[in-house]
Symmetry: C2
Subunit: 208 residues, 2 copies
DNA sequence: ACATGTGAAGCGCTTCACAGCG
DNA sequence: CGCTGTGAAGCGCTTCACATGT
């Protein structure tokens, strides 16, 4: 009812709920918390508590209006407008991210690809040319990019993060296998393959 | 001192600590909790508490022996043996993962690449041939793979997870943008680009 | 003197359990 | 009745603060 701050963990689950809602059969108009919970792999009470932070109103005895709920979550996540994204580091991973189809659907637009390697500069990926690092600051400003993706080797990541921040990027997704110290006023999230694998092996090693 | 169970969050941080230790100057023999904390972006007390779960012994007034600590963390994470990994879904992302350099250093060996597309089957990536899904079960068993990576489209992920589980894989890293219901006895971790971006936009949208 | 190891307090999230309402 | 919305209890993690050991 009253609008309390949304807990971080809830923010992390909202995209999952949204995806589950989008996967519902086209005709389905209502969904209960238990039904959504089953799809998302959580408990019904967690769904209800999470949604309560949005000030959402389901209907008691009935459930949630699917379209209305999707809309509310999209508003909350800032998905009712477009976000311009630049990718720095066009190696294997950077290329894969550049051609990742899931961007457009969700209102993320890749507006720039950057690499330090002169051989790569000028290469086209899905109709977008790789640019040199010199053009980064101008491009971020001109194309109003607020999100930067780092897909460089570990040793280059901090420098790139600082350059992105200086250029005006306010959120960074770091795929480089290293800890990046967040520049002032910039939100950095880490996605780390090696870390995830090592967590898996911990539990593998435990059980035998 | 007494060996209590290691909290999940601690397990997730151990790979980060390990990487920081590996990045220390070659000659450095000792490290304090505050020094390591600075590198990892956490508080010193958290390092000490995390390490205390491993039954580690630093030296009061001095710090931790770098080599000894690295060894202890590697043992804890099961990184003193090799782990065989198969990758299913050889699209852009699957290819990038297949050529990811960080595997070998950390004792992960990619022993199989699988895709449902006959056009891709037979293709070589870094000296490894893409195989058809029919060979999955036999390959997992013969090559003793205990980790599977899913890099398929969302709609195929659950089926692949079940197939991997049936073949004997005990841990799965899911890159497909969907929630996978963990098969009995299998540990599934999700790495999801779209989710991470949406978390970023939440905080972007909040601040203006 | 200095840095670790750890009880204890504090905090945030999860889960319960049920009141509230259609 | 059925399902939501939510106080309250429970739980696990973080942080503090200092006793402990070198």
């Amino acid at each position: 009812m009253v609008r309390r701050p949304v807990p971080r963990v809830t923010v992390q689950r909202l995209p999952v709920y949204l995806r589950c809602l989008e996967n519902l059969p086209a005709g389905q108009q209502r969904v209960s918390s238990d039904e959504l919970a089953e799809m998302a792999g959580v408990l019904g009470a967690k769904i209800r508590k999470d949604l309560s932070y949005l000030g959402t109103h389901g209907t008691r005895g009935v459930g949630y209006e699917v379209e209305h709920l999707k809309h509310e979550i999209r508003i909350e996540l800032g998905l009712t407008r477009d976000w311009a994204v630049v990718i720095v580091g066009i190696g294997n991973l950077g290329r894969a991210l550049a051609s990742y189809g899931g961007f457009g659907e969700r209102r993320f637009q890749v507006v720039g690809l950057f690499d330090i390697d002169p051989v790569k500069v000028g290469t086209q990926i899905d109709g977008l040319a790789v640019e040199s690092m010199e053009g980064l600051a101008r491009a971020v400003a001109a194309r109003k990019a607020s999100i930067g993706i780092i897909a460089t080797p570990a040793h280059a990541a901090q420098g790139v993060a600082d350059a992105l921040a200086a250029a005006g990027v306010r959120s960074i997704l770091n795929f480089a296998p290293t800890v990046v110290k967040p520049p002032e006023g910039v939100d950095v999230r880490r996605v780390d393959l090696a870390t995830e694998l090592q967590v898996l092996t911990f539990y593998l090693a435990q059980s035998g």
